[in-house]
Amino acid sequence: MGIAGLDVTGAAKAILSRSLSPIDLTEHMLGRISRIDPHLKAFVEVLSEHARASAKQADAEMRKGHYRGPLHGIPVAVKELYDIAGVETRSGSRVREHYAARADGAVIRKLRDAGAVLLGTTTTYEFAFGFDAPPTRNAWNLGHIPSGSTGGAAAALAARLCLAAVGSDSGGSIRTPAAANGVAGIKPTFGRVSKAGITVVSWSLDHPAPMGKTVRDLAVLLGVMSGVDPNDPSSRNLPVPDYTKALDGDVRGFRIGVPSNYFFDDVQPAVAHAVGEAVTVLEKLGAAIVPLTVPSMEGIIDSWLAIALAEAATYHQQSLRSKADLYASDVRFLLEAGELTLATTYINAQRVRHAWRSSLRAAMETVDVMVTPTLPNTAMKVGQILSKIGTKEETVFEVSARFCAPFNLAGFPAASIPCGFAPDGLPIGLQIIGKPFEEEAILRVGQAFESRTDHHLRVPSIAGLVA
């Protein structure tokens, strides 16, 4: 794969040793996008001139001995939900036609400060209020969806059209597309990364989050993105660790919880098999596998949905009245349902949330992390409305939320990393859940798993269309 096969860490080494310039790396990615993205449709806008200027600046700075760190000169894709000064970011909606922010959002500012090259904006479902990112296709099979509202970024990353990406996760939208496209993504603890300058889905469920080809890249990106921000009152003033220090491949003595209820119910056999194999790998690495009973899940997804509906409807209250016809019909449907959600339902959902968070914390007291499948199935077909696993029929919305949304409700950190492939060649993700502000434990386990497996090294055939 040559240059395209590099991860952030590998590219940073090549840049630092002067064997690769940010200018050549950026041009290489722009060339790949022009040839491959017409098939994949992952990018909304390719910021070619902007990226070239940033790459040139990075090159000049490094020639003067000013190296900003491992993201310096690295091409990164951005979900079309983030404010980028002067760039149209429509959040996938006609409602925001021609919207261009005057200033960068907090994460974009941090990426720029770290020297990253913003390559372009990637597709999202309208206002990220769904579990698909049309018209984008899955990088492993163009007849399937990329899943999740950060699907554009995930498909682009899997096809090696960028080296990393940033997106958001309000009910699984980083983890499900990561799983469906065979890449890694981590939703940090609520409050770890500022949400300022990112279009709101739901104030209390939204999590800005990175995607990468490897867990090490997630550690680098998360370190850059994290930190308190006065413009986001929910961001927490806690020290940001050097996440890469957790990546020593050693999980001996680590206690890894495996739920014996809910998270393995109604799962495709290939998914159950891959996750079971992953648990065996972790055990062989010296981790202690601890069967865990997860607290009652009754009403958890509905409580998440009640909060998402009500908060999203509040955010869209004005435009739902002035521009209702510009919304996609299914998003409008959800927002109208949110408008009519009773205050008592919202408050009760927040009561359930409080209790769920406490009981989850207690259940995880004796373990360092918990692992589950990220999704019960592999990516659904384009146009497929219902997923059928055994006798259970669910919409794409329901099937995507089932294992991921509970951790948005709790605010706990959770990642998805590749752990196998189904017989039809579609990737499968392993979800690793940690305790609040203990992302290092997730990254440590994920990187240890990667060190013994090669799932993350496989690339879809579309990535090989050009060298």
Partner: protein
């Protein structure tokens, strides 16, 4: 709490009170979604002690 169903005809009347007009084909679906979410949330919330608080955050800054 005794009846989880919501009459779709009521949905538009309710929407009108907040200056919204819901397309006729969506009313039954919205009524069903509202009812099922409300019922599921209440079922779980009813298992909690009445003093169990919501996870609302007030930041006085």
């Amino acid at each position: 709490m005794s009846d989880d169903r919501i009459n779709p005809a009521i949905v538009n009347e309710l929407a009108a009170t907040v200056s919204l007009s819901i397309d006729e084909p969506d009313r039954a679906g919205i009524a069903a979604l509202m009812a099922s979410v409300r019922a599921a949330v209440i079922r779980r919330a009813d298992t909690l002690p009445i003093e169990s608080p919501p996870a609302l955050v007030f930041d006085p800054r």
